[in-house]
Subunit: 636 residues, 2 copies
């Protein structure tokens, strides 16, 4: 079976008033900045060692391995991001840096194709021994994604050639044959990378290896029997379910274990379901999707409730202050959602992808593009976050870099690769999921089709969409669940359309220009009463944006405010952050000045006074110094 | 200065409809049960090793030390409890067990007076080396308390003689002289024990050593420089403030570190302030008292917000689900409050002592008297408590014993010694702080005075108090802050009285019989708005009892209920637990059946329906199996 036609990263170029600045920051600042960090040339950032490790392997430098055993993946994610960045700015410096990186990687690769600087430098005799925690396959996966990105954007197959060798070695080492290791990666990633490589090159070997790893996960004998795992298994958070290896995927009822691993696994598995057409795999993913998004996901699109094990916990367990909600996990959720959309375009998948991207992903990076959150809480009191043991993962301020720096390059590659999230195709039907301004070009059976979108999202429910190309191409435009009074006009006249799973079906002619619009009210949301932490509370969402209250706008003791749900939240245009829509929530607040002097507890009702909170989009929080923040307000 | 006249444990015998059953359980069940546990003869309980360790030291058995390094203190607390139990039941078996215990201890003591089975058996060459964590002085303190209890109740000074030797050794080892160790105990306890011994025997040496340890805490060079401490200090939770050694007591502004240590320290320091009359020490304790009770105390009288380090955290940081609120810490708070009452009889101190005893202390033991909580949370969802890392200290069910078993014998000695908490004296003025039925006999300057109290507390604000004895004795009866319409009658006629710091002053004649009564409404309390976790919530208190909602009465999803503060909570007499007053809280609850099927988040307002919760006294929670429980309800 030939790979399903995919939209290449080159086909869609974002040009959008909301995203241009953020992508620009990523392209202009983060990509060069991260290259300096990866080369240990950025003062104030934790040393990365990532490039140096490859240089030492390549014989270009001397020294010892530095960083985590998965340090290689930071460079790989940067290469992917830098490759995408060339679509927006063809920088000679970045091209040169990419050349340099690839050259070093080529030289670092071992004659047999092996490429993992940690094991080459630190434990050469322990290759492929600690499958559970060694991260060799994880790093290979990221480097393979980087290779595909470079190949797609620049046409250069140098890194892909390197990774072909590595993949060939992996195919020799892993499998069910005599002398092979029957296992699967401790940290999933290579599955989705192999599927990307398969779709980019058409080489079946990539797909076969991906399917082997996906189907072998949870089988016995697996990597639980490997050395290295035995030590870790004493801790309940690092047992089989940490790696989603507690059952084969079709027997998994709930998303368990390390959230990023789970998301990457499900992403790769959804790719596999698309390419194999296996309905049982699709059904398994639908079940897991439902579990994650209906039981285990924060309203910000964050997943992973607990820092210990960076893991999912149990249904409806969504603490707001001690949550983990790693930036990478939300990126993983968006990646998985995109694959679910490829499998079956349903508005629900697009809505979750958008929720993750506009909230938990975007909160991972500061407005200046140079500071990062690993953990994205929904409730922060800085002095508690700084003091308490169970808040040890929560930073009240974004930082410049992390010792474990998975998130910064991950968010950069996501921003530079954002064009890849806007559309999917099914044959000659093009689905637009996100109203992000862009130009997309699609090679259809009927010829080249072009869509140009100019959008006012997320501030206003309005987009202009122009089609040029052959007749017979179907264009499906998402009707967002939050959009009221959705309408499409052409030259001012209403366009009728049929609805299909949340998408408006159009059959445009060359030159057709549509205006779609919908109303976006700021709305109070409440959580399922099973979510203990959110009971008695409400949050505000408008369109894809979840809002939060910050001390910078409202002073301290945010939780002493109670929103009055009978008064709808009011929109205001604010000059903050260069111009955003803020929300005023009306209600009452405990009147501290009338609180009995020095009392810890006092007879109810506490004195209150009318009050309102100014809410800003969650993704913007902590751009004005550390302070209290909350998403879920007390509500009545 | 001679010791201030204290009320001996023998002088007050509780006879009270509320407490008799609980004391009876302690006397009839817990004391014999714990003796079996301490002798490793109780199936299903974690082996204690406590008696065996002494037997091995005594040459009466062979084997290795078992348990924690402070295991000796479990036996010591049991001896104290068992001694007190003889006041209620003069059991030959318990007398024999006490004889046996003392005989073994006598034989276990080393010729120089040293008595700590861990170091004798495990690290004989490391005596007095790990002052910070060795617990030698802690164990000696508990054994000295036990010795005083035995002496006071039975008149036997055998154990006191043993401990005199130990104390003499400690006086040689610690001090500012040549070759002495200038330090203070890692875990406070011996200070208050030495003050008890001083008051029981009048021997100045006890007091001097106590004062030395109290005043030397926080001084340099201190035990921070000791070996053993260096290792632990890498963890921020185990630095100097863990031991209240970050500053001298007069410079301490806030209660820091391990909560039990802090409570025991402040207890001993308050004893010292009473005996020395030092106003600066009293002022320091008043400041710390205010910090604890106005900033760092749960409404249940629990202290210690965090399991890591079993410690205080920061002002107003009072999470309800991950709190530590160790039973022993609440006992310590009651002990400290009793000493503050001796220093200065103020209703506030009595109210906190009562709050701790009737809530966080009593919740530490089951109705059957044989199951214990170490941690006493205010919000429990069993599946979360079982799963989540940050809930690892929270048991959703009481257990039969603990590997670290400080709490069970501590609560037993508290119940058997409850008579000691009812009164304090200042000369010939007798203050009654708790309306617990009892007979108290007091040797006053004017002769023997006797008070007999029959009380309906905590269910009704009513007590009959009969006085017999000489004229000229003043009796001060507490006017509880929660008691409305407080009145005293004699033979049906109102008695007028003067109020002094929350106490009604009476000057009874022989044979006077008073009836005091006050109204106790069930009342909604709210917390200071600085307490993030309690904002938007209320709890119910009636008299000294804090109430909670349990799944057993109300079904699950307790947090989906919102109390209507405009409707006062209603009292009901319930046959539950042999007859208690329960409270009905009216309000509304999210109507789960109308909640959008399978939605995690949905537009507000969520459908609600009128509802009420049945609340039971907090101390009774978890006597009907594991289930949800909460103290703080959403409120509007």
């Amino acid at each position: 079976m030939a790979p399903k036609r995919e939209i290449s990263i080159k086909d869609v170029k974002v040009d959008d008033s909301f995203w241009n600045g953020r992508i620009g920051n990523a392209v202009e600042k983060a990509v060069p900045y991260q290259w300096r960090v990866l080369n240990d040339q950025e003062p104030g950032a934790v040393p990365s060692h990532a490039v140096m490790n490859f240089k030492i392997c390549a014989g270009l430098a001397e020294g010892e391995f530095g960083g985590f055993r998965f340090q290689d993946s930071d460079l790989a994610k940067w290469i992917e991001a830098a490759a995408y960045s060339l679509l927006y700015k063809d920088s000679p410096e970045i091209r040169a840096a990419l050349e340099e990186a690839v050259s070093v990687i080529e030289k670092a690769q071992q004659p047999d194709g092996y490429l993992d600087t940690y094991f080459i430098l630190e434990k050469p005799e322990e290759r492929w021994r600690d499958i559970a925690h060694g991260h060799e396959l994880y790093c290979a996966g990221h480097m393979l994604e980087a290779a595909v990105a470079l190949f797609q954007v620049t046409g250069s197959s140098r890194l892909l050639t390197v990774m072909e060798k590595t993949v060939n070695l992996i195919r020799q080492v892993f499998g069910e044959g005599e002398g092979q290791i029957s296992s699967c990666p401790g940290h999933e990633e290579i599955e989705l990378a192999l599927m990307k490589a398969y779709r980019a090159t058409g080489q079946e070997a990539y797909k076969e290896l991906a399917l082997y790893f996906i189907e072998n996960r949870g089988a016995k004998p697996g990597f639980l029997e490997e050395p290295g795992f035995q030590n870790a298994s004493k801790n309940r958070w690092f047992q089989a379910s940490y790696h989603q290896a507690h059952a084969r995927i079709r027997e998994q009822e709930t998303a368990e274990g390390h959230a990023v691993r789970a998301m990457y696994f499900f992403t790769g598995a959804a790719d596999a379901a698309l390419e194999t057409g296996d309905p049982t795999l699709k059904a398994a993913l639908e079940k897991l999707w439902e579990n994650v998004t209906r039981r285990r996901m924060y309203v910000t699109g964050g997943v992973g409730s607990q820092g210990e094990g960076e893991c999912f916990t149990i249904d409806y367990d969504l603490p707001n202050d001690t949550c983990y909600t790693e930036t990478c996990a939300a990126i993983g959720l968006a990646m998985w959602a995109l694959r679910m959309l490829r499998l079956e375009p349903k508005e629900e998948y697009a809505a979750i992808m958008e929720r993750a991207l506009y909230n938990n992903v975007l909160s991972g990076i500061s407005q200046d593009g140079e500071h990062y959150f690993y953990v994205n809480p929904l409730l922060v009191k800085p002095e508690v976050a700084r003091f308490r043991r169970d808040h040890q993962d929560v930073e009240p301020d974004r930082v410049k870099w992390f010792g474990c720096a998975c998130c910064p390059p991950n968010i950069t590659r996501t921003l530079c690769g954002l064009g890849g999230y806007i559309y999917t195709r099914k044959g000659d039907a093009i689905y637009q999921h996100l109203y992000i301004g862009n130009t997309g070009e699609f090679e259809t059976e009927k010829g080249k089709a072009r869509l140009r979108c100019v959008s006012s999202m997320p501030w206003e429910g309005k987009a202009e969409i122009a089609y040029s190309g052959p007749a017979g191409v179907e264009v499906y435009l998402r009707v967002p669940g939050y959009g009221e009074n959705f309408r499409i006009t052409k030259a001012g006249a209403p366009v009728s359309f049929t609805l299909s799973q949340g998408y408006a079906r159009l059959c445009p002619q060359d030159g057709d220009a549509y205006t779609l619009s919908f109303d976006m009210k700021a709305q109070y949301l409440q959580a399922n009463p099973q979510v203990l932490e959110d009971c008695g509370k409400a949050c505000v969402q408008r369109g894809p944006l979840v809002y939060c209250a910050e001390e910078a706008d409202n002073g301290p003791l945010l939780n002493s405010f109670t929103a009055d749900l009978s008064q709808p939240p009011v929109l205001e245009t604010s000059p903050l952050f260069g111009g955003v829509t803020v929300v005023k929530a009306a209600g009452s607040q405990i009147d501290w000045e009338k609180w009995p002097a020095n009392a810890l507890y006092a007879p109810a009702p506490a004195p209150t006074r009318p009050a309102s909170l100014t809410l800003v989009p969650y993704f913007l929080w902590n751009n004005r110094g550390a302070g209290e923040m909350l998403v879920w307000m007390n509500a009545r």
